[in-house]
Amino acid sequence: MSYAIMLTDNNRSRAYIQNLVRTGFVPKTAIVLGNNWDMKSKTELQIGKIPMIDEWFDCNESVYETLLKAEIDYKTIDTKNPNEETVVKSISEINEKSLIYSGPGGIILKEPILSQGVRFFHAHPGILPQYKGSTTFYYSMILQQKIGCSVIEMALKLDSGDVVYEYEFVIQSEPHDYDQVVDPLVRTHTLIEWLKSVDGKPTESKKRVQNSDGNTFYIIHPVLKHLAILKTQNTGNGGSGE
């Protein structure tokens, strides 16, 4: 395995790093944005079994704890902005040629971070180019009764990089879990299936889908979120990736 990972200590990053370690796809090095390791902030969230997803995670284990246990070299940078100069400098100093991105959401990476000789890969919870933007899995639950996830190589324009892997799920879960559990686990599962497909070598990834056009969605209104979840409660299970 020779890739790096960028994390911020949230549920998505916790799900990523715990499952990457568990499945043997251990990153060589990690950059953690933010410096908010708070051992006291335990949550009551219960991670139940989600159909079609083998992965699970302990939402009370911080990324720092997992990195220490797995003996992964990591560097903490006290910022939430991945475009900051200190972050760019750290990227330019790593030896790995590819990086899995799990930094703060909703931020578009700008130059010069994308031109440091490192390919950035990101799991986006939507099939592209149809579902770009935010909270896209709720929209696909309404329109198609399924959730898609795409691994893309990040580009300057939001969700417009080359798609290197995609996976579709039909999921029925506890309704409260979608933002904090289903979303992280859908992305995690897709990342792991992608890594399996390239034998743990992200740089072996090839473009699969033309991703220049498409629709950009924005944060879903609560009424649509309710309709999406209620609609999904009556669907079956299944999933496939390519």
């Binding site: 929209y139 609560p222 979840i229």
Partner: protein
């Protein structure tokens, strides 16, 4: 339970809708009650006409006047005389509203930088009606959903300040809420509750 998205002036204090809480059927019932409440409130007020004359053509060609353009656009949509440029303009303002949760009275014409005021409710009423018409005209289900998402948010904005709506704005607001209700009912009918 109550509907928590209209309990303050959203123009003064916008909400992001991020990680909104799921409350099951009760959440939808609270939303329906909010909209019924708004319609009942607006029904108590008489007067006003829906079709109004266009404001005079503004004289500065470098400025995009939202009210003038939106009114003209709404007329075009209603008479099915729109072209690709009209759709691009609507999609641009969908993005503008989603990013800031506001619409301004004016924008620069070359790059649509905001100008003027953000609290002219006429602009919000007009754009809500534009979205209702756009929803019917666009074919892609994804585009319909994007438009409905904004319509819900603009109608939240209007519902939160319903007491401030002027006479000429009330019928536009009623029309926008009724359109939203129709779309909501159609989607709801596909959900086996």
């Amino acid at each position: 339970m109550y509907y928590p998205y209209t309990n303050r002036d959203l123009i003064e204090s916008p909400i992001t809708y991020e990680f909104s809480q799921y409350c099951g059927i009760d959440g939808l019932k609270a939303y329906e009650a909010d909209r019924e409440n708004m319609l009942s409130f607006l029904a108590t007020i008489k007067g006003g006409t829906f079709e109004q004359e266009l404001p005079l053509q503004p004289d500065n060609n470098d400025i995009f006047y939202s009210e003038f353009t939106f009114r003209k656009l709404l007329q075009k949509l209603k008479s099915n005389r729109t072209d690709e440029e009209d759709y691009k303009l609507i999609e641009l303002f969908i993005k503008k509203f989603e990013v800031s949760k506001k619409l301004w009275t004016m924008y620069t014409k070359n790059n649509y930088q905001k100008m003027g005021e953000d609290d002219n409710l006429q602009i919000y009423c007009l754009f809500a009606n534009i979205l209702g018409e756009y929803y019917d005209l666009v074919e892609l289900p994804e585009k319909k959903m994007i438009a409905f998402n904004v319509l819900l948010k603009i109608n939240d904005t209007l519902s939160a300040v319903k007491e401030k709506l002027l006479e000429r704005q009330r019928l536009l607001a009623v029309s926008a809420i009724k359109k939203e209700k129709d779309i909501y009912s159609a989607i709801l009918s596909e959900v086996n509750i």
